[in-house]
């Protein structure tokens, strides 16, 4: 046991549905532009779309139901509903093939990838990293994780997001360009996956701006929901 200069903050963690135990988060990866209609609305070309990833800090996770202050340095906060995959067993490179990838999954959750869209546009234009647009504090609200042991590995199901009751994103996870096994195998060729990793799999079309006072609710059929209020 290391002797630290000061106590480290407790590990970030997410609730597990039907359990008092929590899922400790190691890293958060996000797949970009993984639904055709969203790639188009972001100016991408889905026919040439390659799988790519960005990260959020593990302690950017926020619990379901959170009341979140508007983040600094933006006038355009945009929540993106995503299917999140919780990794229970690690591996890397050739150790994870598409065919065996699902064996590494502990469970699934509904999550928001909160984005400072104005900053993202500016950074993209500069051709530089856009961590500032994606990886800010409290940028990753996550609903309770449903263990795969209980719900299996969903391949179909409505994915939706509503702001103050008005539906803005409405699609189906079977519209993913790269499915969950492909994402896991692709990511593990770049970095070693370990238990505690969360992978957000991309958002469908219909992303929009939210403002102070908005209640944002999203869900994935068969998996769960996640809700936040912007203060």
């Amino acid at each position: 046991m290391s002797d630290y200069l000061f106590p480290p903050s407790p590990p970030a963690s997410v609730a597990v549905a039907g359990s008092t135990q929590r899922f400790p988060v190691r890293r958060i990866y996000c797949a970009g532009q993984n639904y055709v209609a969203h790639a188009l609305e972001m100016g991408g070309d889905p026919s040439k779309q390659e799988l790519f990833f960005f990260d959020k800090p593990a302690d950017a996770v926020v619990a379901d139901g959170a009341r979140l202050p508007m983040p600094p340095a933006t006038d355009h906060l945009s929540p993106e509903i995503e299917l999140a995959v919780a990794i229970g067993e690690g591996g890397s490179g050739s150790a994870i093939a598409k065919e065996t990838a699902l064996a590494h999954v502990f469970g699934y959750a509904a999550a928001f990838d909160l984005t400072r869209r104005d900053m993202q546009a500016r950074l993209k234009k500069m051709g530089v990293a856009y961590d500032l647009a994606k990886a800010f504090d409290r940028s990753c609200p996550v609903g309770a994780i449903r263990p795969a042991a209980e719900i299996g590995h969903p391949r179909k199901g409505r994915i939706w997001l509503a702001v103050n009751g008005e539906v803005r994103q409405d699609s189906n996870i079977d519209d993913l360009i790269y499915d969950v096994p492909t994402i896991i195998a692709g990511l593990s060729a770049m970095v070693e996956l370990k238990p505690g990793d969360l992978i957000l799999t991309g958002t469908p079309a219909g992303v929009s701006r939210v403002v102070k006072g908005d209640r944002v609710e999203g869900g994935i059929e068969g998996v769960g929901t996640v809700t936040i209020t912007v203060l």
Binding site: L5, F6, R26, F52, D59, K125, D131, A189
Partner: protein, 229 residues
């Protein structure tokens, strides 16, 4: 006491010079293009572009140096030596003249970069994480407490590969000083004790290969040695 479905991993930490105690790491931030000559060699214009930030996972650190594997999915890994700031105190919207009071100490780090992936990401307007935030991408030497070394504003910074000097500059040539960087960053994120900030690299970045021995140092702060395996 929180119960977990499996044991959380131990917090990444960095040795502190002159003590057995370790600095527990929360986040690793990096400043992009903070030396004019490096901004130019990367095709940027230091006069017109504000510095920007990216991150690495805390457990991408190779604390104390040693060995780092040549990473997968690349044919072009570059070394970037950097002065690293270790924060002992957190805060948001920190004023420039208060910023150094948040610093616990300083270390020497190497920002290893998959340059080919970075070039592709830049071209496509895509994020840099796979280029910058890969496993073992952040070798770092022991932290020297500011209580002992002060807050250096001028010091030689250099990196050698197999004994040949590849990067040689002075931290006084940073575009944004440590205090300015911390102040700016704290307007974008709430900084906390345990955060590390890599402050950018000077010119002379170049490729490393399996078997290469890297030695990086900042005068008066320390050094880090790394072998690519």
């Amino acid at each position: 006491m929180t119960e977990y479905v499996f044991a959380p991993r131990e917090r990444p930490s960095v040795p502190v010079a002159g003590t057995d105690r370790r600095f527990p790491v929360r986040r690793v931030y990096c400043v992009g293009r903070n030396y004019a000559e490096h901004a130019r060699e990367m095709g940027g214009d230091p006069a017109r572009e504000p510095p920007f930030f990216f991150s690495k996972p805390a457990d991408a650190l190779v604390a104390g140096g040693g060995e780092a594997p040549f990473p997968p999915a690349t044919n072009d890994v570059h070394h970037e030596v950097e002065l690293v700031v270790a924060l002992g105190k957190g805060g948001a919207d920190i004023a420039v003249d208060q910023a150094l009071a948040h610093v616990y100490g300083y270390a020497v780090g190497i920002d290893l970069t998959r340059r080919d992936l970075q070039a592709a990401a830049k071209k496509a307007g895509r994020p840099w994480e796979t280029a910058k935030g890969f496993d073992a991408s952040a070798p770092i030497g022991a932290i020297a407490p500011a209580s002992r070394v002060g807050h250096p504003a001028k010091a030689a910074i250099r990196l050698k590969v197999n004994g040949a000097v590849r990067q040689s500059s002075d931290i006084s040539r940073m575009i944004w000083s440590v205090a300015e960087t911390l102040s700016h960053l704290s307007g974008l994120f709430r900084l906390e004790a345990g955060d590390l900030v890599f402050t950018g690299t000077p010119e002379g970045v170049g490729p490393v290969r399996r078997g290469d021995a890297l030695e990086a140092g900042v005068e008066g702060i320390g050094e880090v040695k790394l072998r690519i395996v």
